[in-house]
């Protein structure tokens, strides 16, 4: 009853839903969706049949005033029982065949010659992204080429004092999720058809900031992707003057610590730690902190001032930086394009 109404609204719904599983944008997601839709309509048909029957029975056999005769006492009917055992079994068997076909089909590894390999390391609560062949490391925003299967190697790894927990990697428009279980290395294939930004997030409860472990899959045309890779593979810019220069110095050492203890920057001597995200081309990203905050000076200031206020449980400490120090660091970080 209500679901019928809901269904109507559902199809009529034009509101944009960037994480919708119902609008597949790649072959993997499409194959999953193609399996779901017929089953959904079969389920809807059964739903309408059963609920309609309930309504019919409720109207037709309701007690009416003056009818006091006790109804005929029917105890059962073997034929009917068989009928409603066999029909659902046949329907389910019909669903099972393509399902199992798709399970095996989707578990196939894409051809190593054409695919792009990307390693994803899940942390609490961000994603480290590594392009092993291209020797590029970034975080949370995963750039991929269109029209080419991307073969993800997923792991949840121990780094620093961090004990790994289970995460789940998921970009709905490109395909279903894959749990990332510590101690196991698993794989997942996604492919995007059109350039664009596809949102995703961690789908397995992983602690206090689980909701803040988001990600973006940014698909480029193959040419744009190559250009992006080239820029990413280059060494970071070293500022030589102004506020950014001051920030560069602070990055290496400020009263009470050093950013280099956790963060790597390709091109900066001694900045090779992989506890926090690699910041080599930080300034070119759209978001940071698990893809939850837009990369703007305001947001970055808020983060450097007190990371845990932006993201509960954030591993980055509040160093009690002064406003001047924060300004300088913001300038430096944004210069890392």
């Amino acid at each position: 009853m209500l679901l019928a109404l809901v269904l109507l609204l559902f199809t009529a719904c034009t509101e944009s839903a960037p994480q919708s599983t119902l609008e597949p944008e790649g072959p993997v997601a499409r194959q999953q969706d193609d399996l779901f839709r017929p089953v959904f309509w079969i389920a809807t048909a059964v739903f309408v049949f059963v609920e309609g029957l309930i309504l019919l029975i409720v109207v037709k056999f309701r007690h009416r005033e003056g009818r006091d005769a006790i109804p005929t006492q029917v105890h059962g009917n073997k034929r009917l029982e068989l009928l409603w055992t066999i029909i659902p079994t046949v329907i389910l068997a019909g669903i099972a065949v393509p399902t199992i076909g798709a399970i095996f089909n989707l578990s196939r590894e894409p051809d190593p010659a054409t695919r792009l390999d990307v390693t994803i390391i899940a942390h609490q609560w961000w994603w480290e992204v590594e392009y092993p062949e291209e020797r590029v490391i970034t975080a949370n925003e995963i750039h991929i080429p269109t029209g080419r299967p991307v073969y993800f190697r997923l792991e949840s790894r121990n780094q620093g004092a961090e004990i790994p927990v289970i995460h789940s990697f998921w970009v709905p428009k490109l395909g279903g999720k894959q749990d990332v279980v510590p101690g196991r290395i698993v794989h997942l294939t996604y492919e995007a058809e059109q350039p664009g930004t596809y949102l995703g997030q961690c789908a397995e409860f992983c602690g206090i900031s689980h909701a803040y472990m988001r990600l973006r899959m940014i698909a480029h045309t193959p040419e744009d992707f190559e250009a992006w890779l080239e820029n990413e593979g280059s060494r970071a810019a070293t500022p030589d003057s102004g506020l950014a220069q001051r920030g560069f110095e602070l990055f290496q050492s400020f009263p009470g610590g050093s950013c280099m203890a956790c963060h790597a920057i390709n091109g900066l001597d001694g900045a090779a730690a992989r506890i926090g995200p690699d910041l080599t081309h930080f300034g070119s990203r759209e978001t940071f902190a698990g893809a939850i905050a837009d990369l703007t000076p305001e947001e970055l200031r808020r983060w450097l001032d007190d990371p845990a206020s932006v993201k509960p449980g954030a591993k980055m400490p509040d160093y009690g930086l002064s406003d001047e120090e924060i300004e300088a660091l913001v300038a430096y970080l944004l210069s890392l394009e």
Partner: protein, 636 residues
Amino acid sequence: MATEVLPQRRGWTLHRPTATTGVWSWITTVDHKRIGILYGVTAFVMFLAGGVEALLLRVQLATPENNFISAETYNQLFTMHGTTMIFLVIMPLSAAFFNYFLPLQIGARDVAFPRLNAFSYWVFLAGGIFMYTSFFLGGAPNGGWFGYAPLNTEGGVLDVVRTHNMDFWVLGLIILGIASTVSAVNLLVTIINMRAPGMTFMRMPVFTWMTFVVQFLLVFALPIITVALFELLFDRLFGTNFFNVLNGGDPVLWQHLFWLFGHPEVYILILPAMGIVSEILPVFSRKPLFGYAVVVFSGIAIGFMGWGVWAHHMFAVGLGPVANSAFALSTMFIAVPTGVKIFNWLATMWGGDLRFKTPMLFAIGFVAMFTIGGLSGVTHAIVPHDTQQTDTYYIVAHFHYVLFGGAIFGLFGGAYFWWPKITGKLLNERIGKANFWLMFLGFNLTFAPFHILGLEGMARRTHTYPEGMGWDFWNMVSTVGAFLIAVSVAVFMWNVMRTRTKGEVAGDDPWDGRSLEWSISSPPPAHNFDEIPEVHEVDDFWHKKYAEDEHGRLAPAVAGGAGYGPSEAHAGGHGDGEHGGHEAIHMPSPSYYPAFTAIGFPLLAWGLIFSPALIVIGAAILLGGLYGWALEPSAE
């Protein structure tokens, strides 16, 4: 049961208590009916607690990027909401009906082990209280009702001071598991060994049958979660390696053990409600249950098949295509016996003379809503797309349709149905109907949108969500619906209050019932049956009232009408000993020991967390209680 072997009493053991009214009579009672009421009241209070938790969650999620509660509070509340509703509400609410009506339906005077029965209740209560003290002792459990490792061993918090939140969860569940296991063995023995003459298995009411299946599931499923919980506990307390990846442990083992318990648990939650609905529909259709044997066997089939589907909770783990295919098949085909039940219920109503009293409304609501939950369940079995659904609100929608639209509707139906038997007074019909329709509307408003939210990619267990995801509208609708459910529950409470003073006196058989509990007075006497009834067929009491010719037509039975032997003829004689039969009925005496012994468990658990001294005290109480119990004379 030879009870007269040891009349003398040891000097130092407690006298058997004698209070028949007041608080002590409740604390020391071993009467299955009173214990049933205790279960029911406690579970309802927990239902309110779990409901308040749910409302807080819904307020937080009403708007995007809301700061009504913190992430940490949110995690505690959703963990406690799930744990409470499953272990402290649906299971004990079902237990309330098991306790009260199982002996009545099989024509027994009590359960097999009355003191153990009381013990089960007190241990359950102790476990619930223990878990809820966490709110005042450093924070409630915050790792999810599924308690995945290694998040809940030491995972992720090694550099932080270890918190006790999940210790409360693990220890609390172990205590509750002990309570349920003891109770399950007790009820199993009761059904196997204490049926009235002629009450063969295939003459038992369907509620009793479903109870029977559930006790088997409990007996076999609980030890598995117990082992898993001990492994998690040892990892937390003693630094063992069960789920420690570095030392060779495998987090997936937890998932296998948890869901190997967890899926039978789903049927533990739903089968009692299916049993209740199978009682209500025939009574208010004035027709026997269609296909009694088929309904019973499909219940058994569900019980068996429930053991072979657990990995469908783990389709995103990466178990490989062969395992995934096998579990996809088993998950699809468990829908068959479930569907068979639904069609049998519909056929029961077909051709009936339907009277829409409140219990009937809830029962029909159950069938309608459970169907939705069943259908979305089938969509989970298409593994490739389940990887899209799992851990989203689509799943949350599914299991709320099963556990709220299913179990809770069934249990509310049972409450309205059996209230007159328990209290002697009928709950008000008009308020009852308002209760049903508010709950029905609120329920659908709350949970139907979850289907959409889930398919639009909203992940579960997230304390907030950003703007612009297309989720704002349906989240707000859901929050409004949640408050409507709260109103419906308030209406129920008002109905209960009102009935205490103004309720209509029910009489023995207000609904023209079919099973034995309707053949005795409301409320039933302490000994249930003046004379143990003799049973000749399914729905025996109905057939005492109505004779059926070979065409299935009924006529009121000849001479004497309803009733079993003297209970009808001597209706005035209850309790005052006029009737000769009463003197001979020995009911078990109340006892202090079950409640006393139960106190030992939470003390042990607090001790494990905070102080060895408490362990010693708890163990002493436990052992002392058991010894006193064993040596307690059986009657005085």
